[in-house]
């Protein structure tokens, strides 16, 4: 999922400061799962924002909505009938959702209510960690299902660097060395032959190095 981290209430109060009537829009997608931007978070943030504004002597009217997704046109268009009645929208979807709302409703300011962080997994309740940097050319079949692009701090491709100490990255004892994980995994799969193979240098054109990316599926387009 795409994970997010709520912005501090003080930052959101500052964004909403010029406005007296806003929409607070959550998303039922990834940010609901990572408890950053779903229906419950909309309720909590709206209530906290109303309290902050009332305490400051300037009450604010907030319409609370939670769209199925903010990254699909049919859902962001659901704001169309009433968005003109409001001065601004605070979206607590990921950055893609915030931008897509802004593209579709270009006369209304759209503000981000959370910081989009990474594509990751729920390691445990309340703990998420990064697993994918969307490089566009997956090599997990060669590395035992462990991504060196994401999980190695240096994104190196040829085994652990000199900073790997007892299975940990030199950055922090909390970060496992990705290449230690890869080698352990390949050994357990009896596929160390994959580590011995030479591979051509990875092309990064499919990653961010080629600029903003786009997928066009001719079999799906109208």
């Amino acid at each position: 999922m795409i994970t997010g981290d709520p912005k501090a209430l003080e930052d959101i109060v500052a964004m909403a400061e010029p406005h007296d009537k806003i929409i607070l829009a959550g998303c039922h997608g990834c940010v609901t799962v990572c408890r950053a931007g779903g229906e419950k978070e909309v309720q909590v943030l709206a209530s906290a924002l109303r309290l902050a504004r009332e305490a400051a002597g300037r009450p604010i009217e907030i319409k609370e909505v939670c769209l199925e997704r903010q990254c699909d046109p049919e859902y962001v268009e659901l704001l169309r009938p009433y968005i003109a009645d409001y001065e601004a929208v605070i979206s607590i979807a990921c950055g893609a959702g915030v931008q897509f709302l802004a593209e579709h409703h270009n006369k209304t300011p759209i503000f981000p209510g959370l910081n989009t962080t990474f594509i990751g997994v729920a390691e445990a309740q309340g703990v998420w960690s990064e697993r994918c940097q969307a490089c566009g050319d997956c090599i997990l079949h060669l590395t035992g299902g462990i991504c060196p692009v994401t999980r190695c701090s240096k994104s190196i491709f040829h085994g652990p660097c000199g900073g790997s100490v007892q299975g940990h990255c030199e950055l922090s004892a909390d970060i496992p060395c990705a290449w230690q994980l890869i080698i352990d995994r390949l050994e357990s799969l009896d596929r160390m032959d994959l580590y011995e193979q030479l591979h051509p240098m990875k092309g990064w054109r499919t990653s961010r190095h080629g600029g903003p990316r786009k997928i066009v599926r001719e079999d799906l387009t109208k």
Partner: protein
């Protein structure tokens, strides 16, 4: 009343303040004695999060507190309620209620033509 403080979500506490409460006390079972294993432990974390939000909203973090006792400790419940009442009484009305009172006074003054 709810069957377990694990059901007390953040928004319930926040809306109590929106509805005019000067303080909120959440009273759960003794830690380690939760029938649902960790409902009261979750409640304690939620109370802490609401306190942080109330601080950020400039309402006051110490207007929400968590207490623990067993269902049979009526006397202790009364003592906690008295403690919380005296604590909130000492803090005075919440900034929300002060702002609302001032707004009401201003409206009355402007409708009667007086300067507030």
């Amino acid at each position: 009343m709810v069957p377990c403080t694990g059901r007390v979500e953040e928004v319930l506490m926040l809306r109590a303040f929106e509805n005019g409460a000067d303080g909120v006390m959440v009273v759960g079972c003794l830690e380690g004695d939760c029938h649902f294993v960790e409902g009261n432990l979750r409640a304690r974390k939620r109370v802490a999060r609401v306190a942080a939000l109330l601080k950020a909203a400039k309402v006051g973090a110490d207007r929400v507190r968590m207490f623990n006792l067993s269902a049979g400790e009526g006397t202790k419940f009364a003592a906690f309620a008295k403690e919380m009442f005296e604590h909130i009484d000492g803090l005075g009305p919440s900034p929300i209620n002060i702002a609302r009172s001032e707004a009401t006074a201003n409206r009355r003054a402007s409708s009667s033509g007086d300067t507030p």
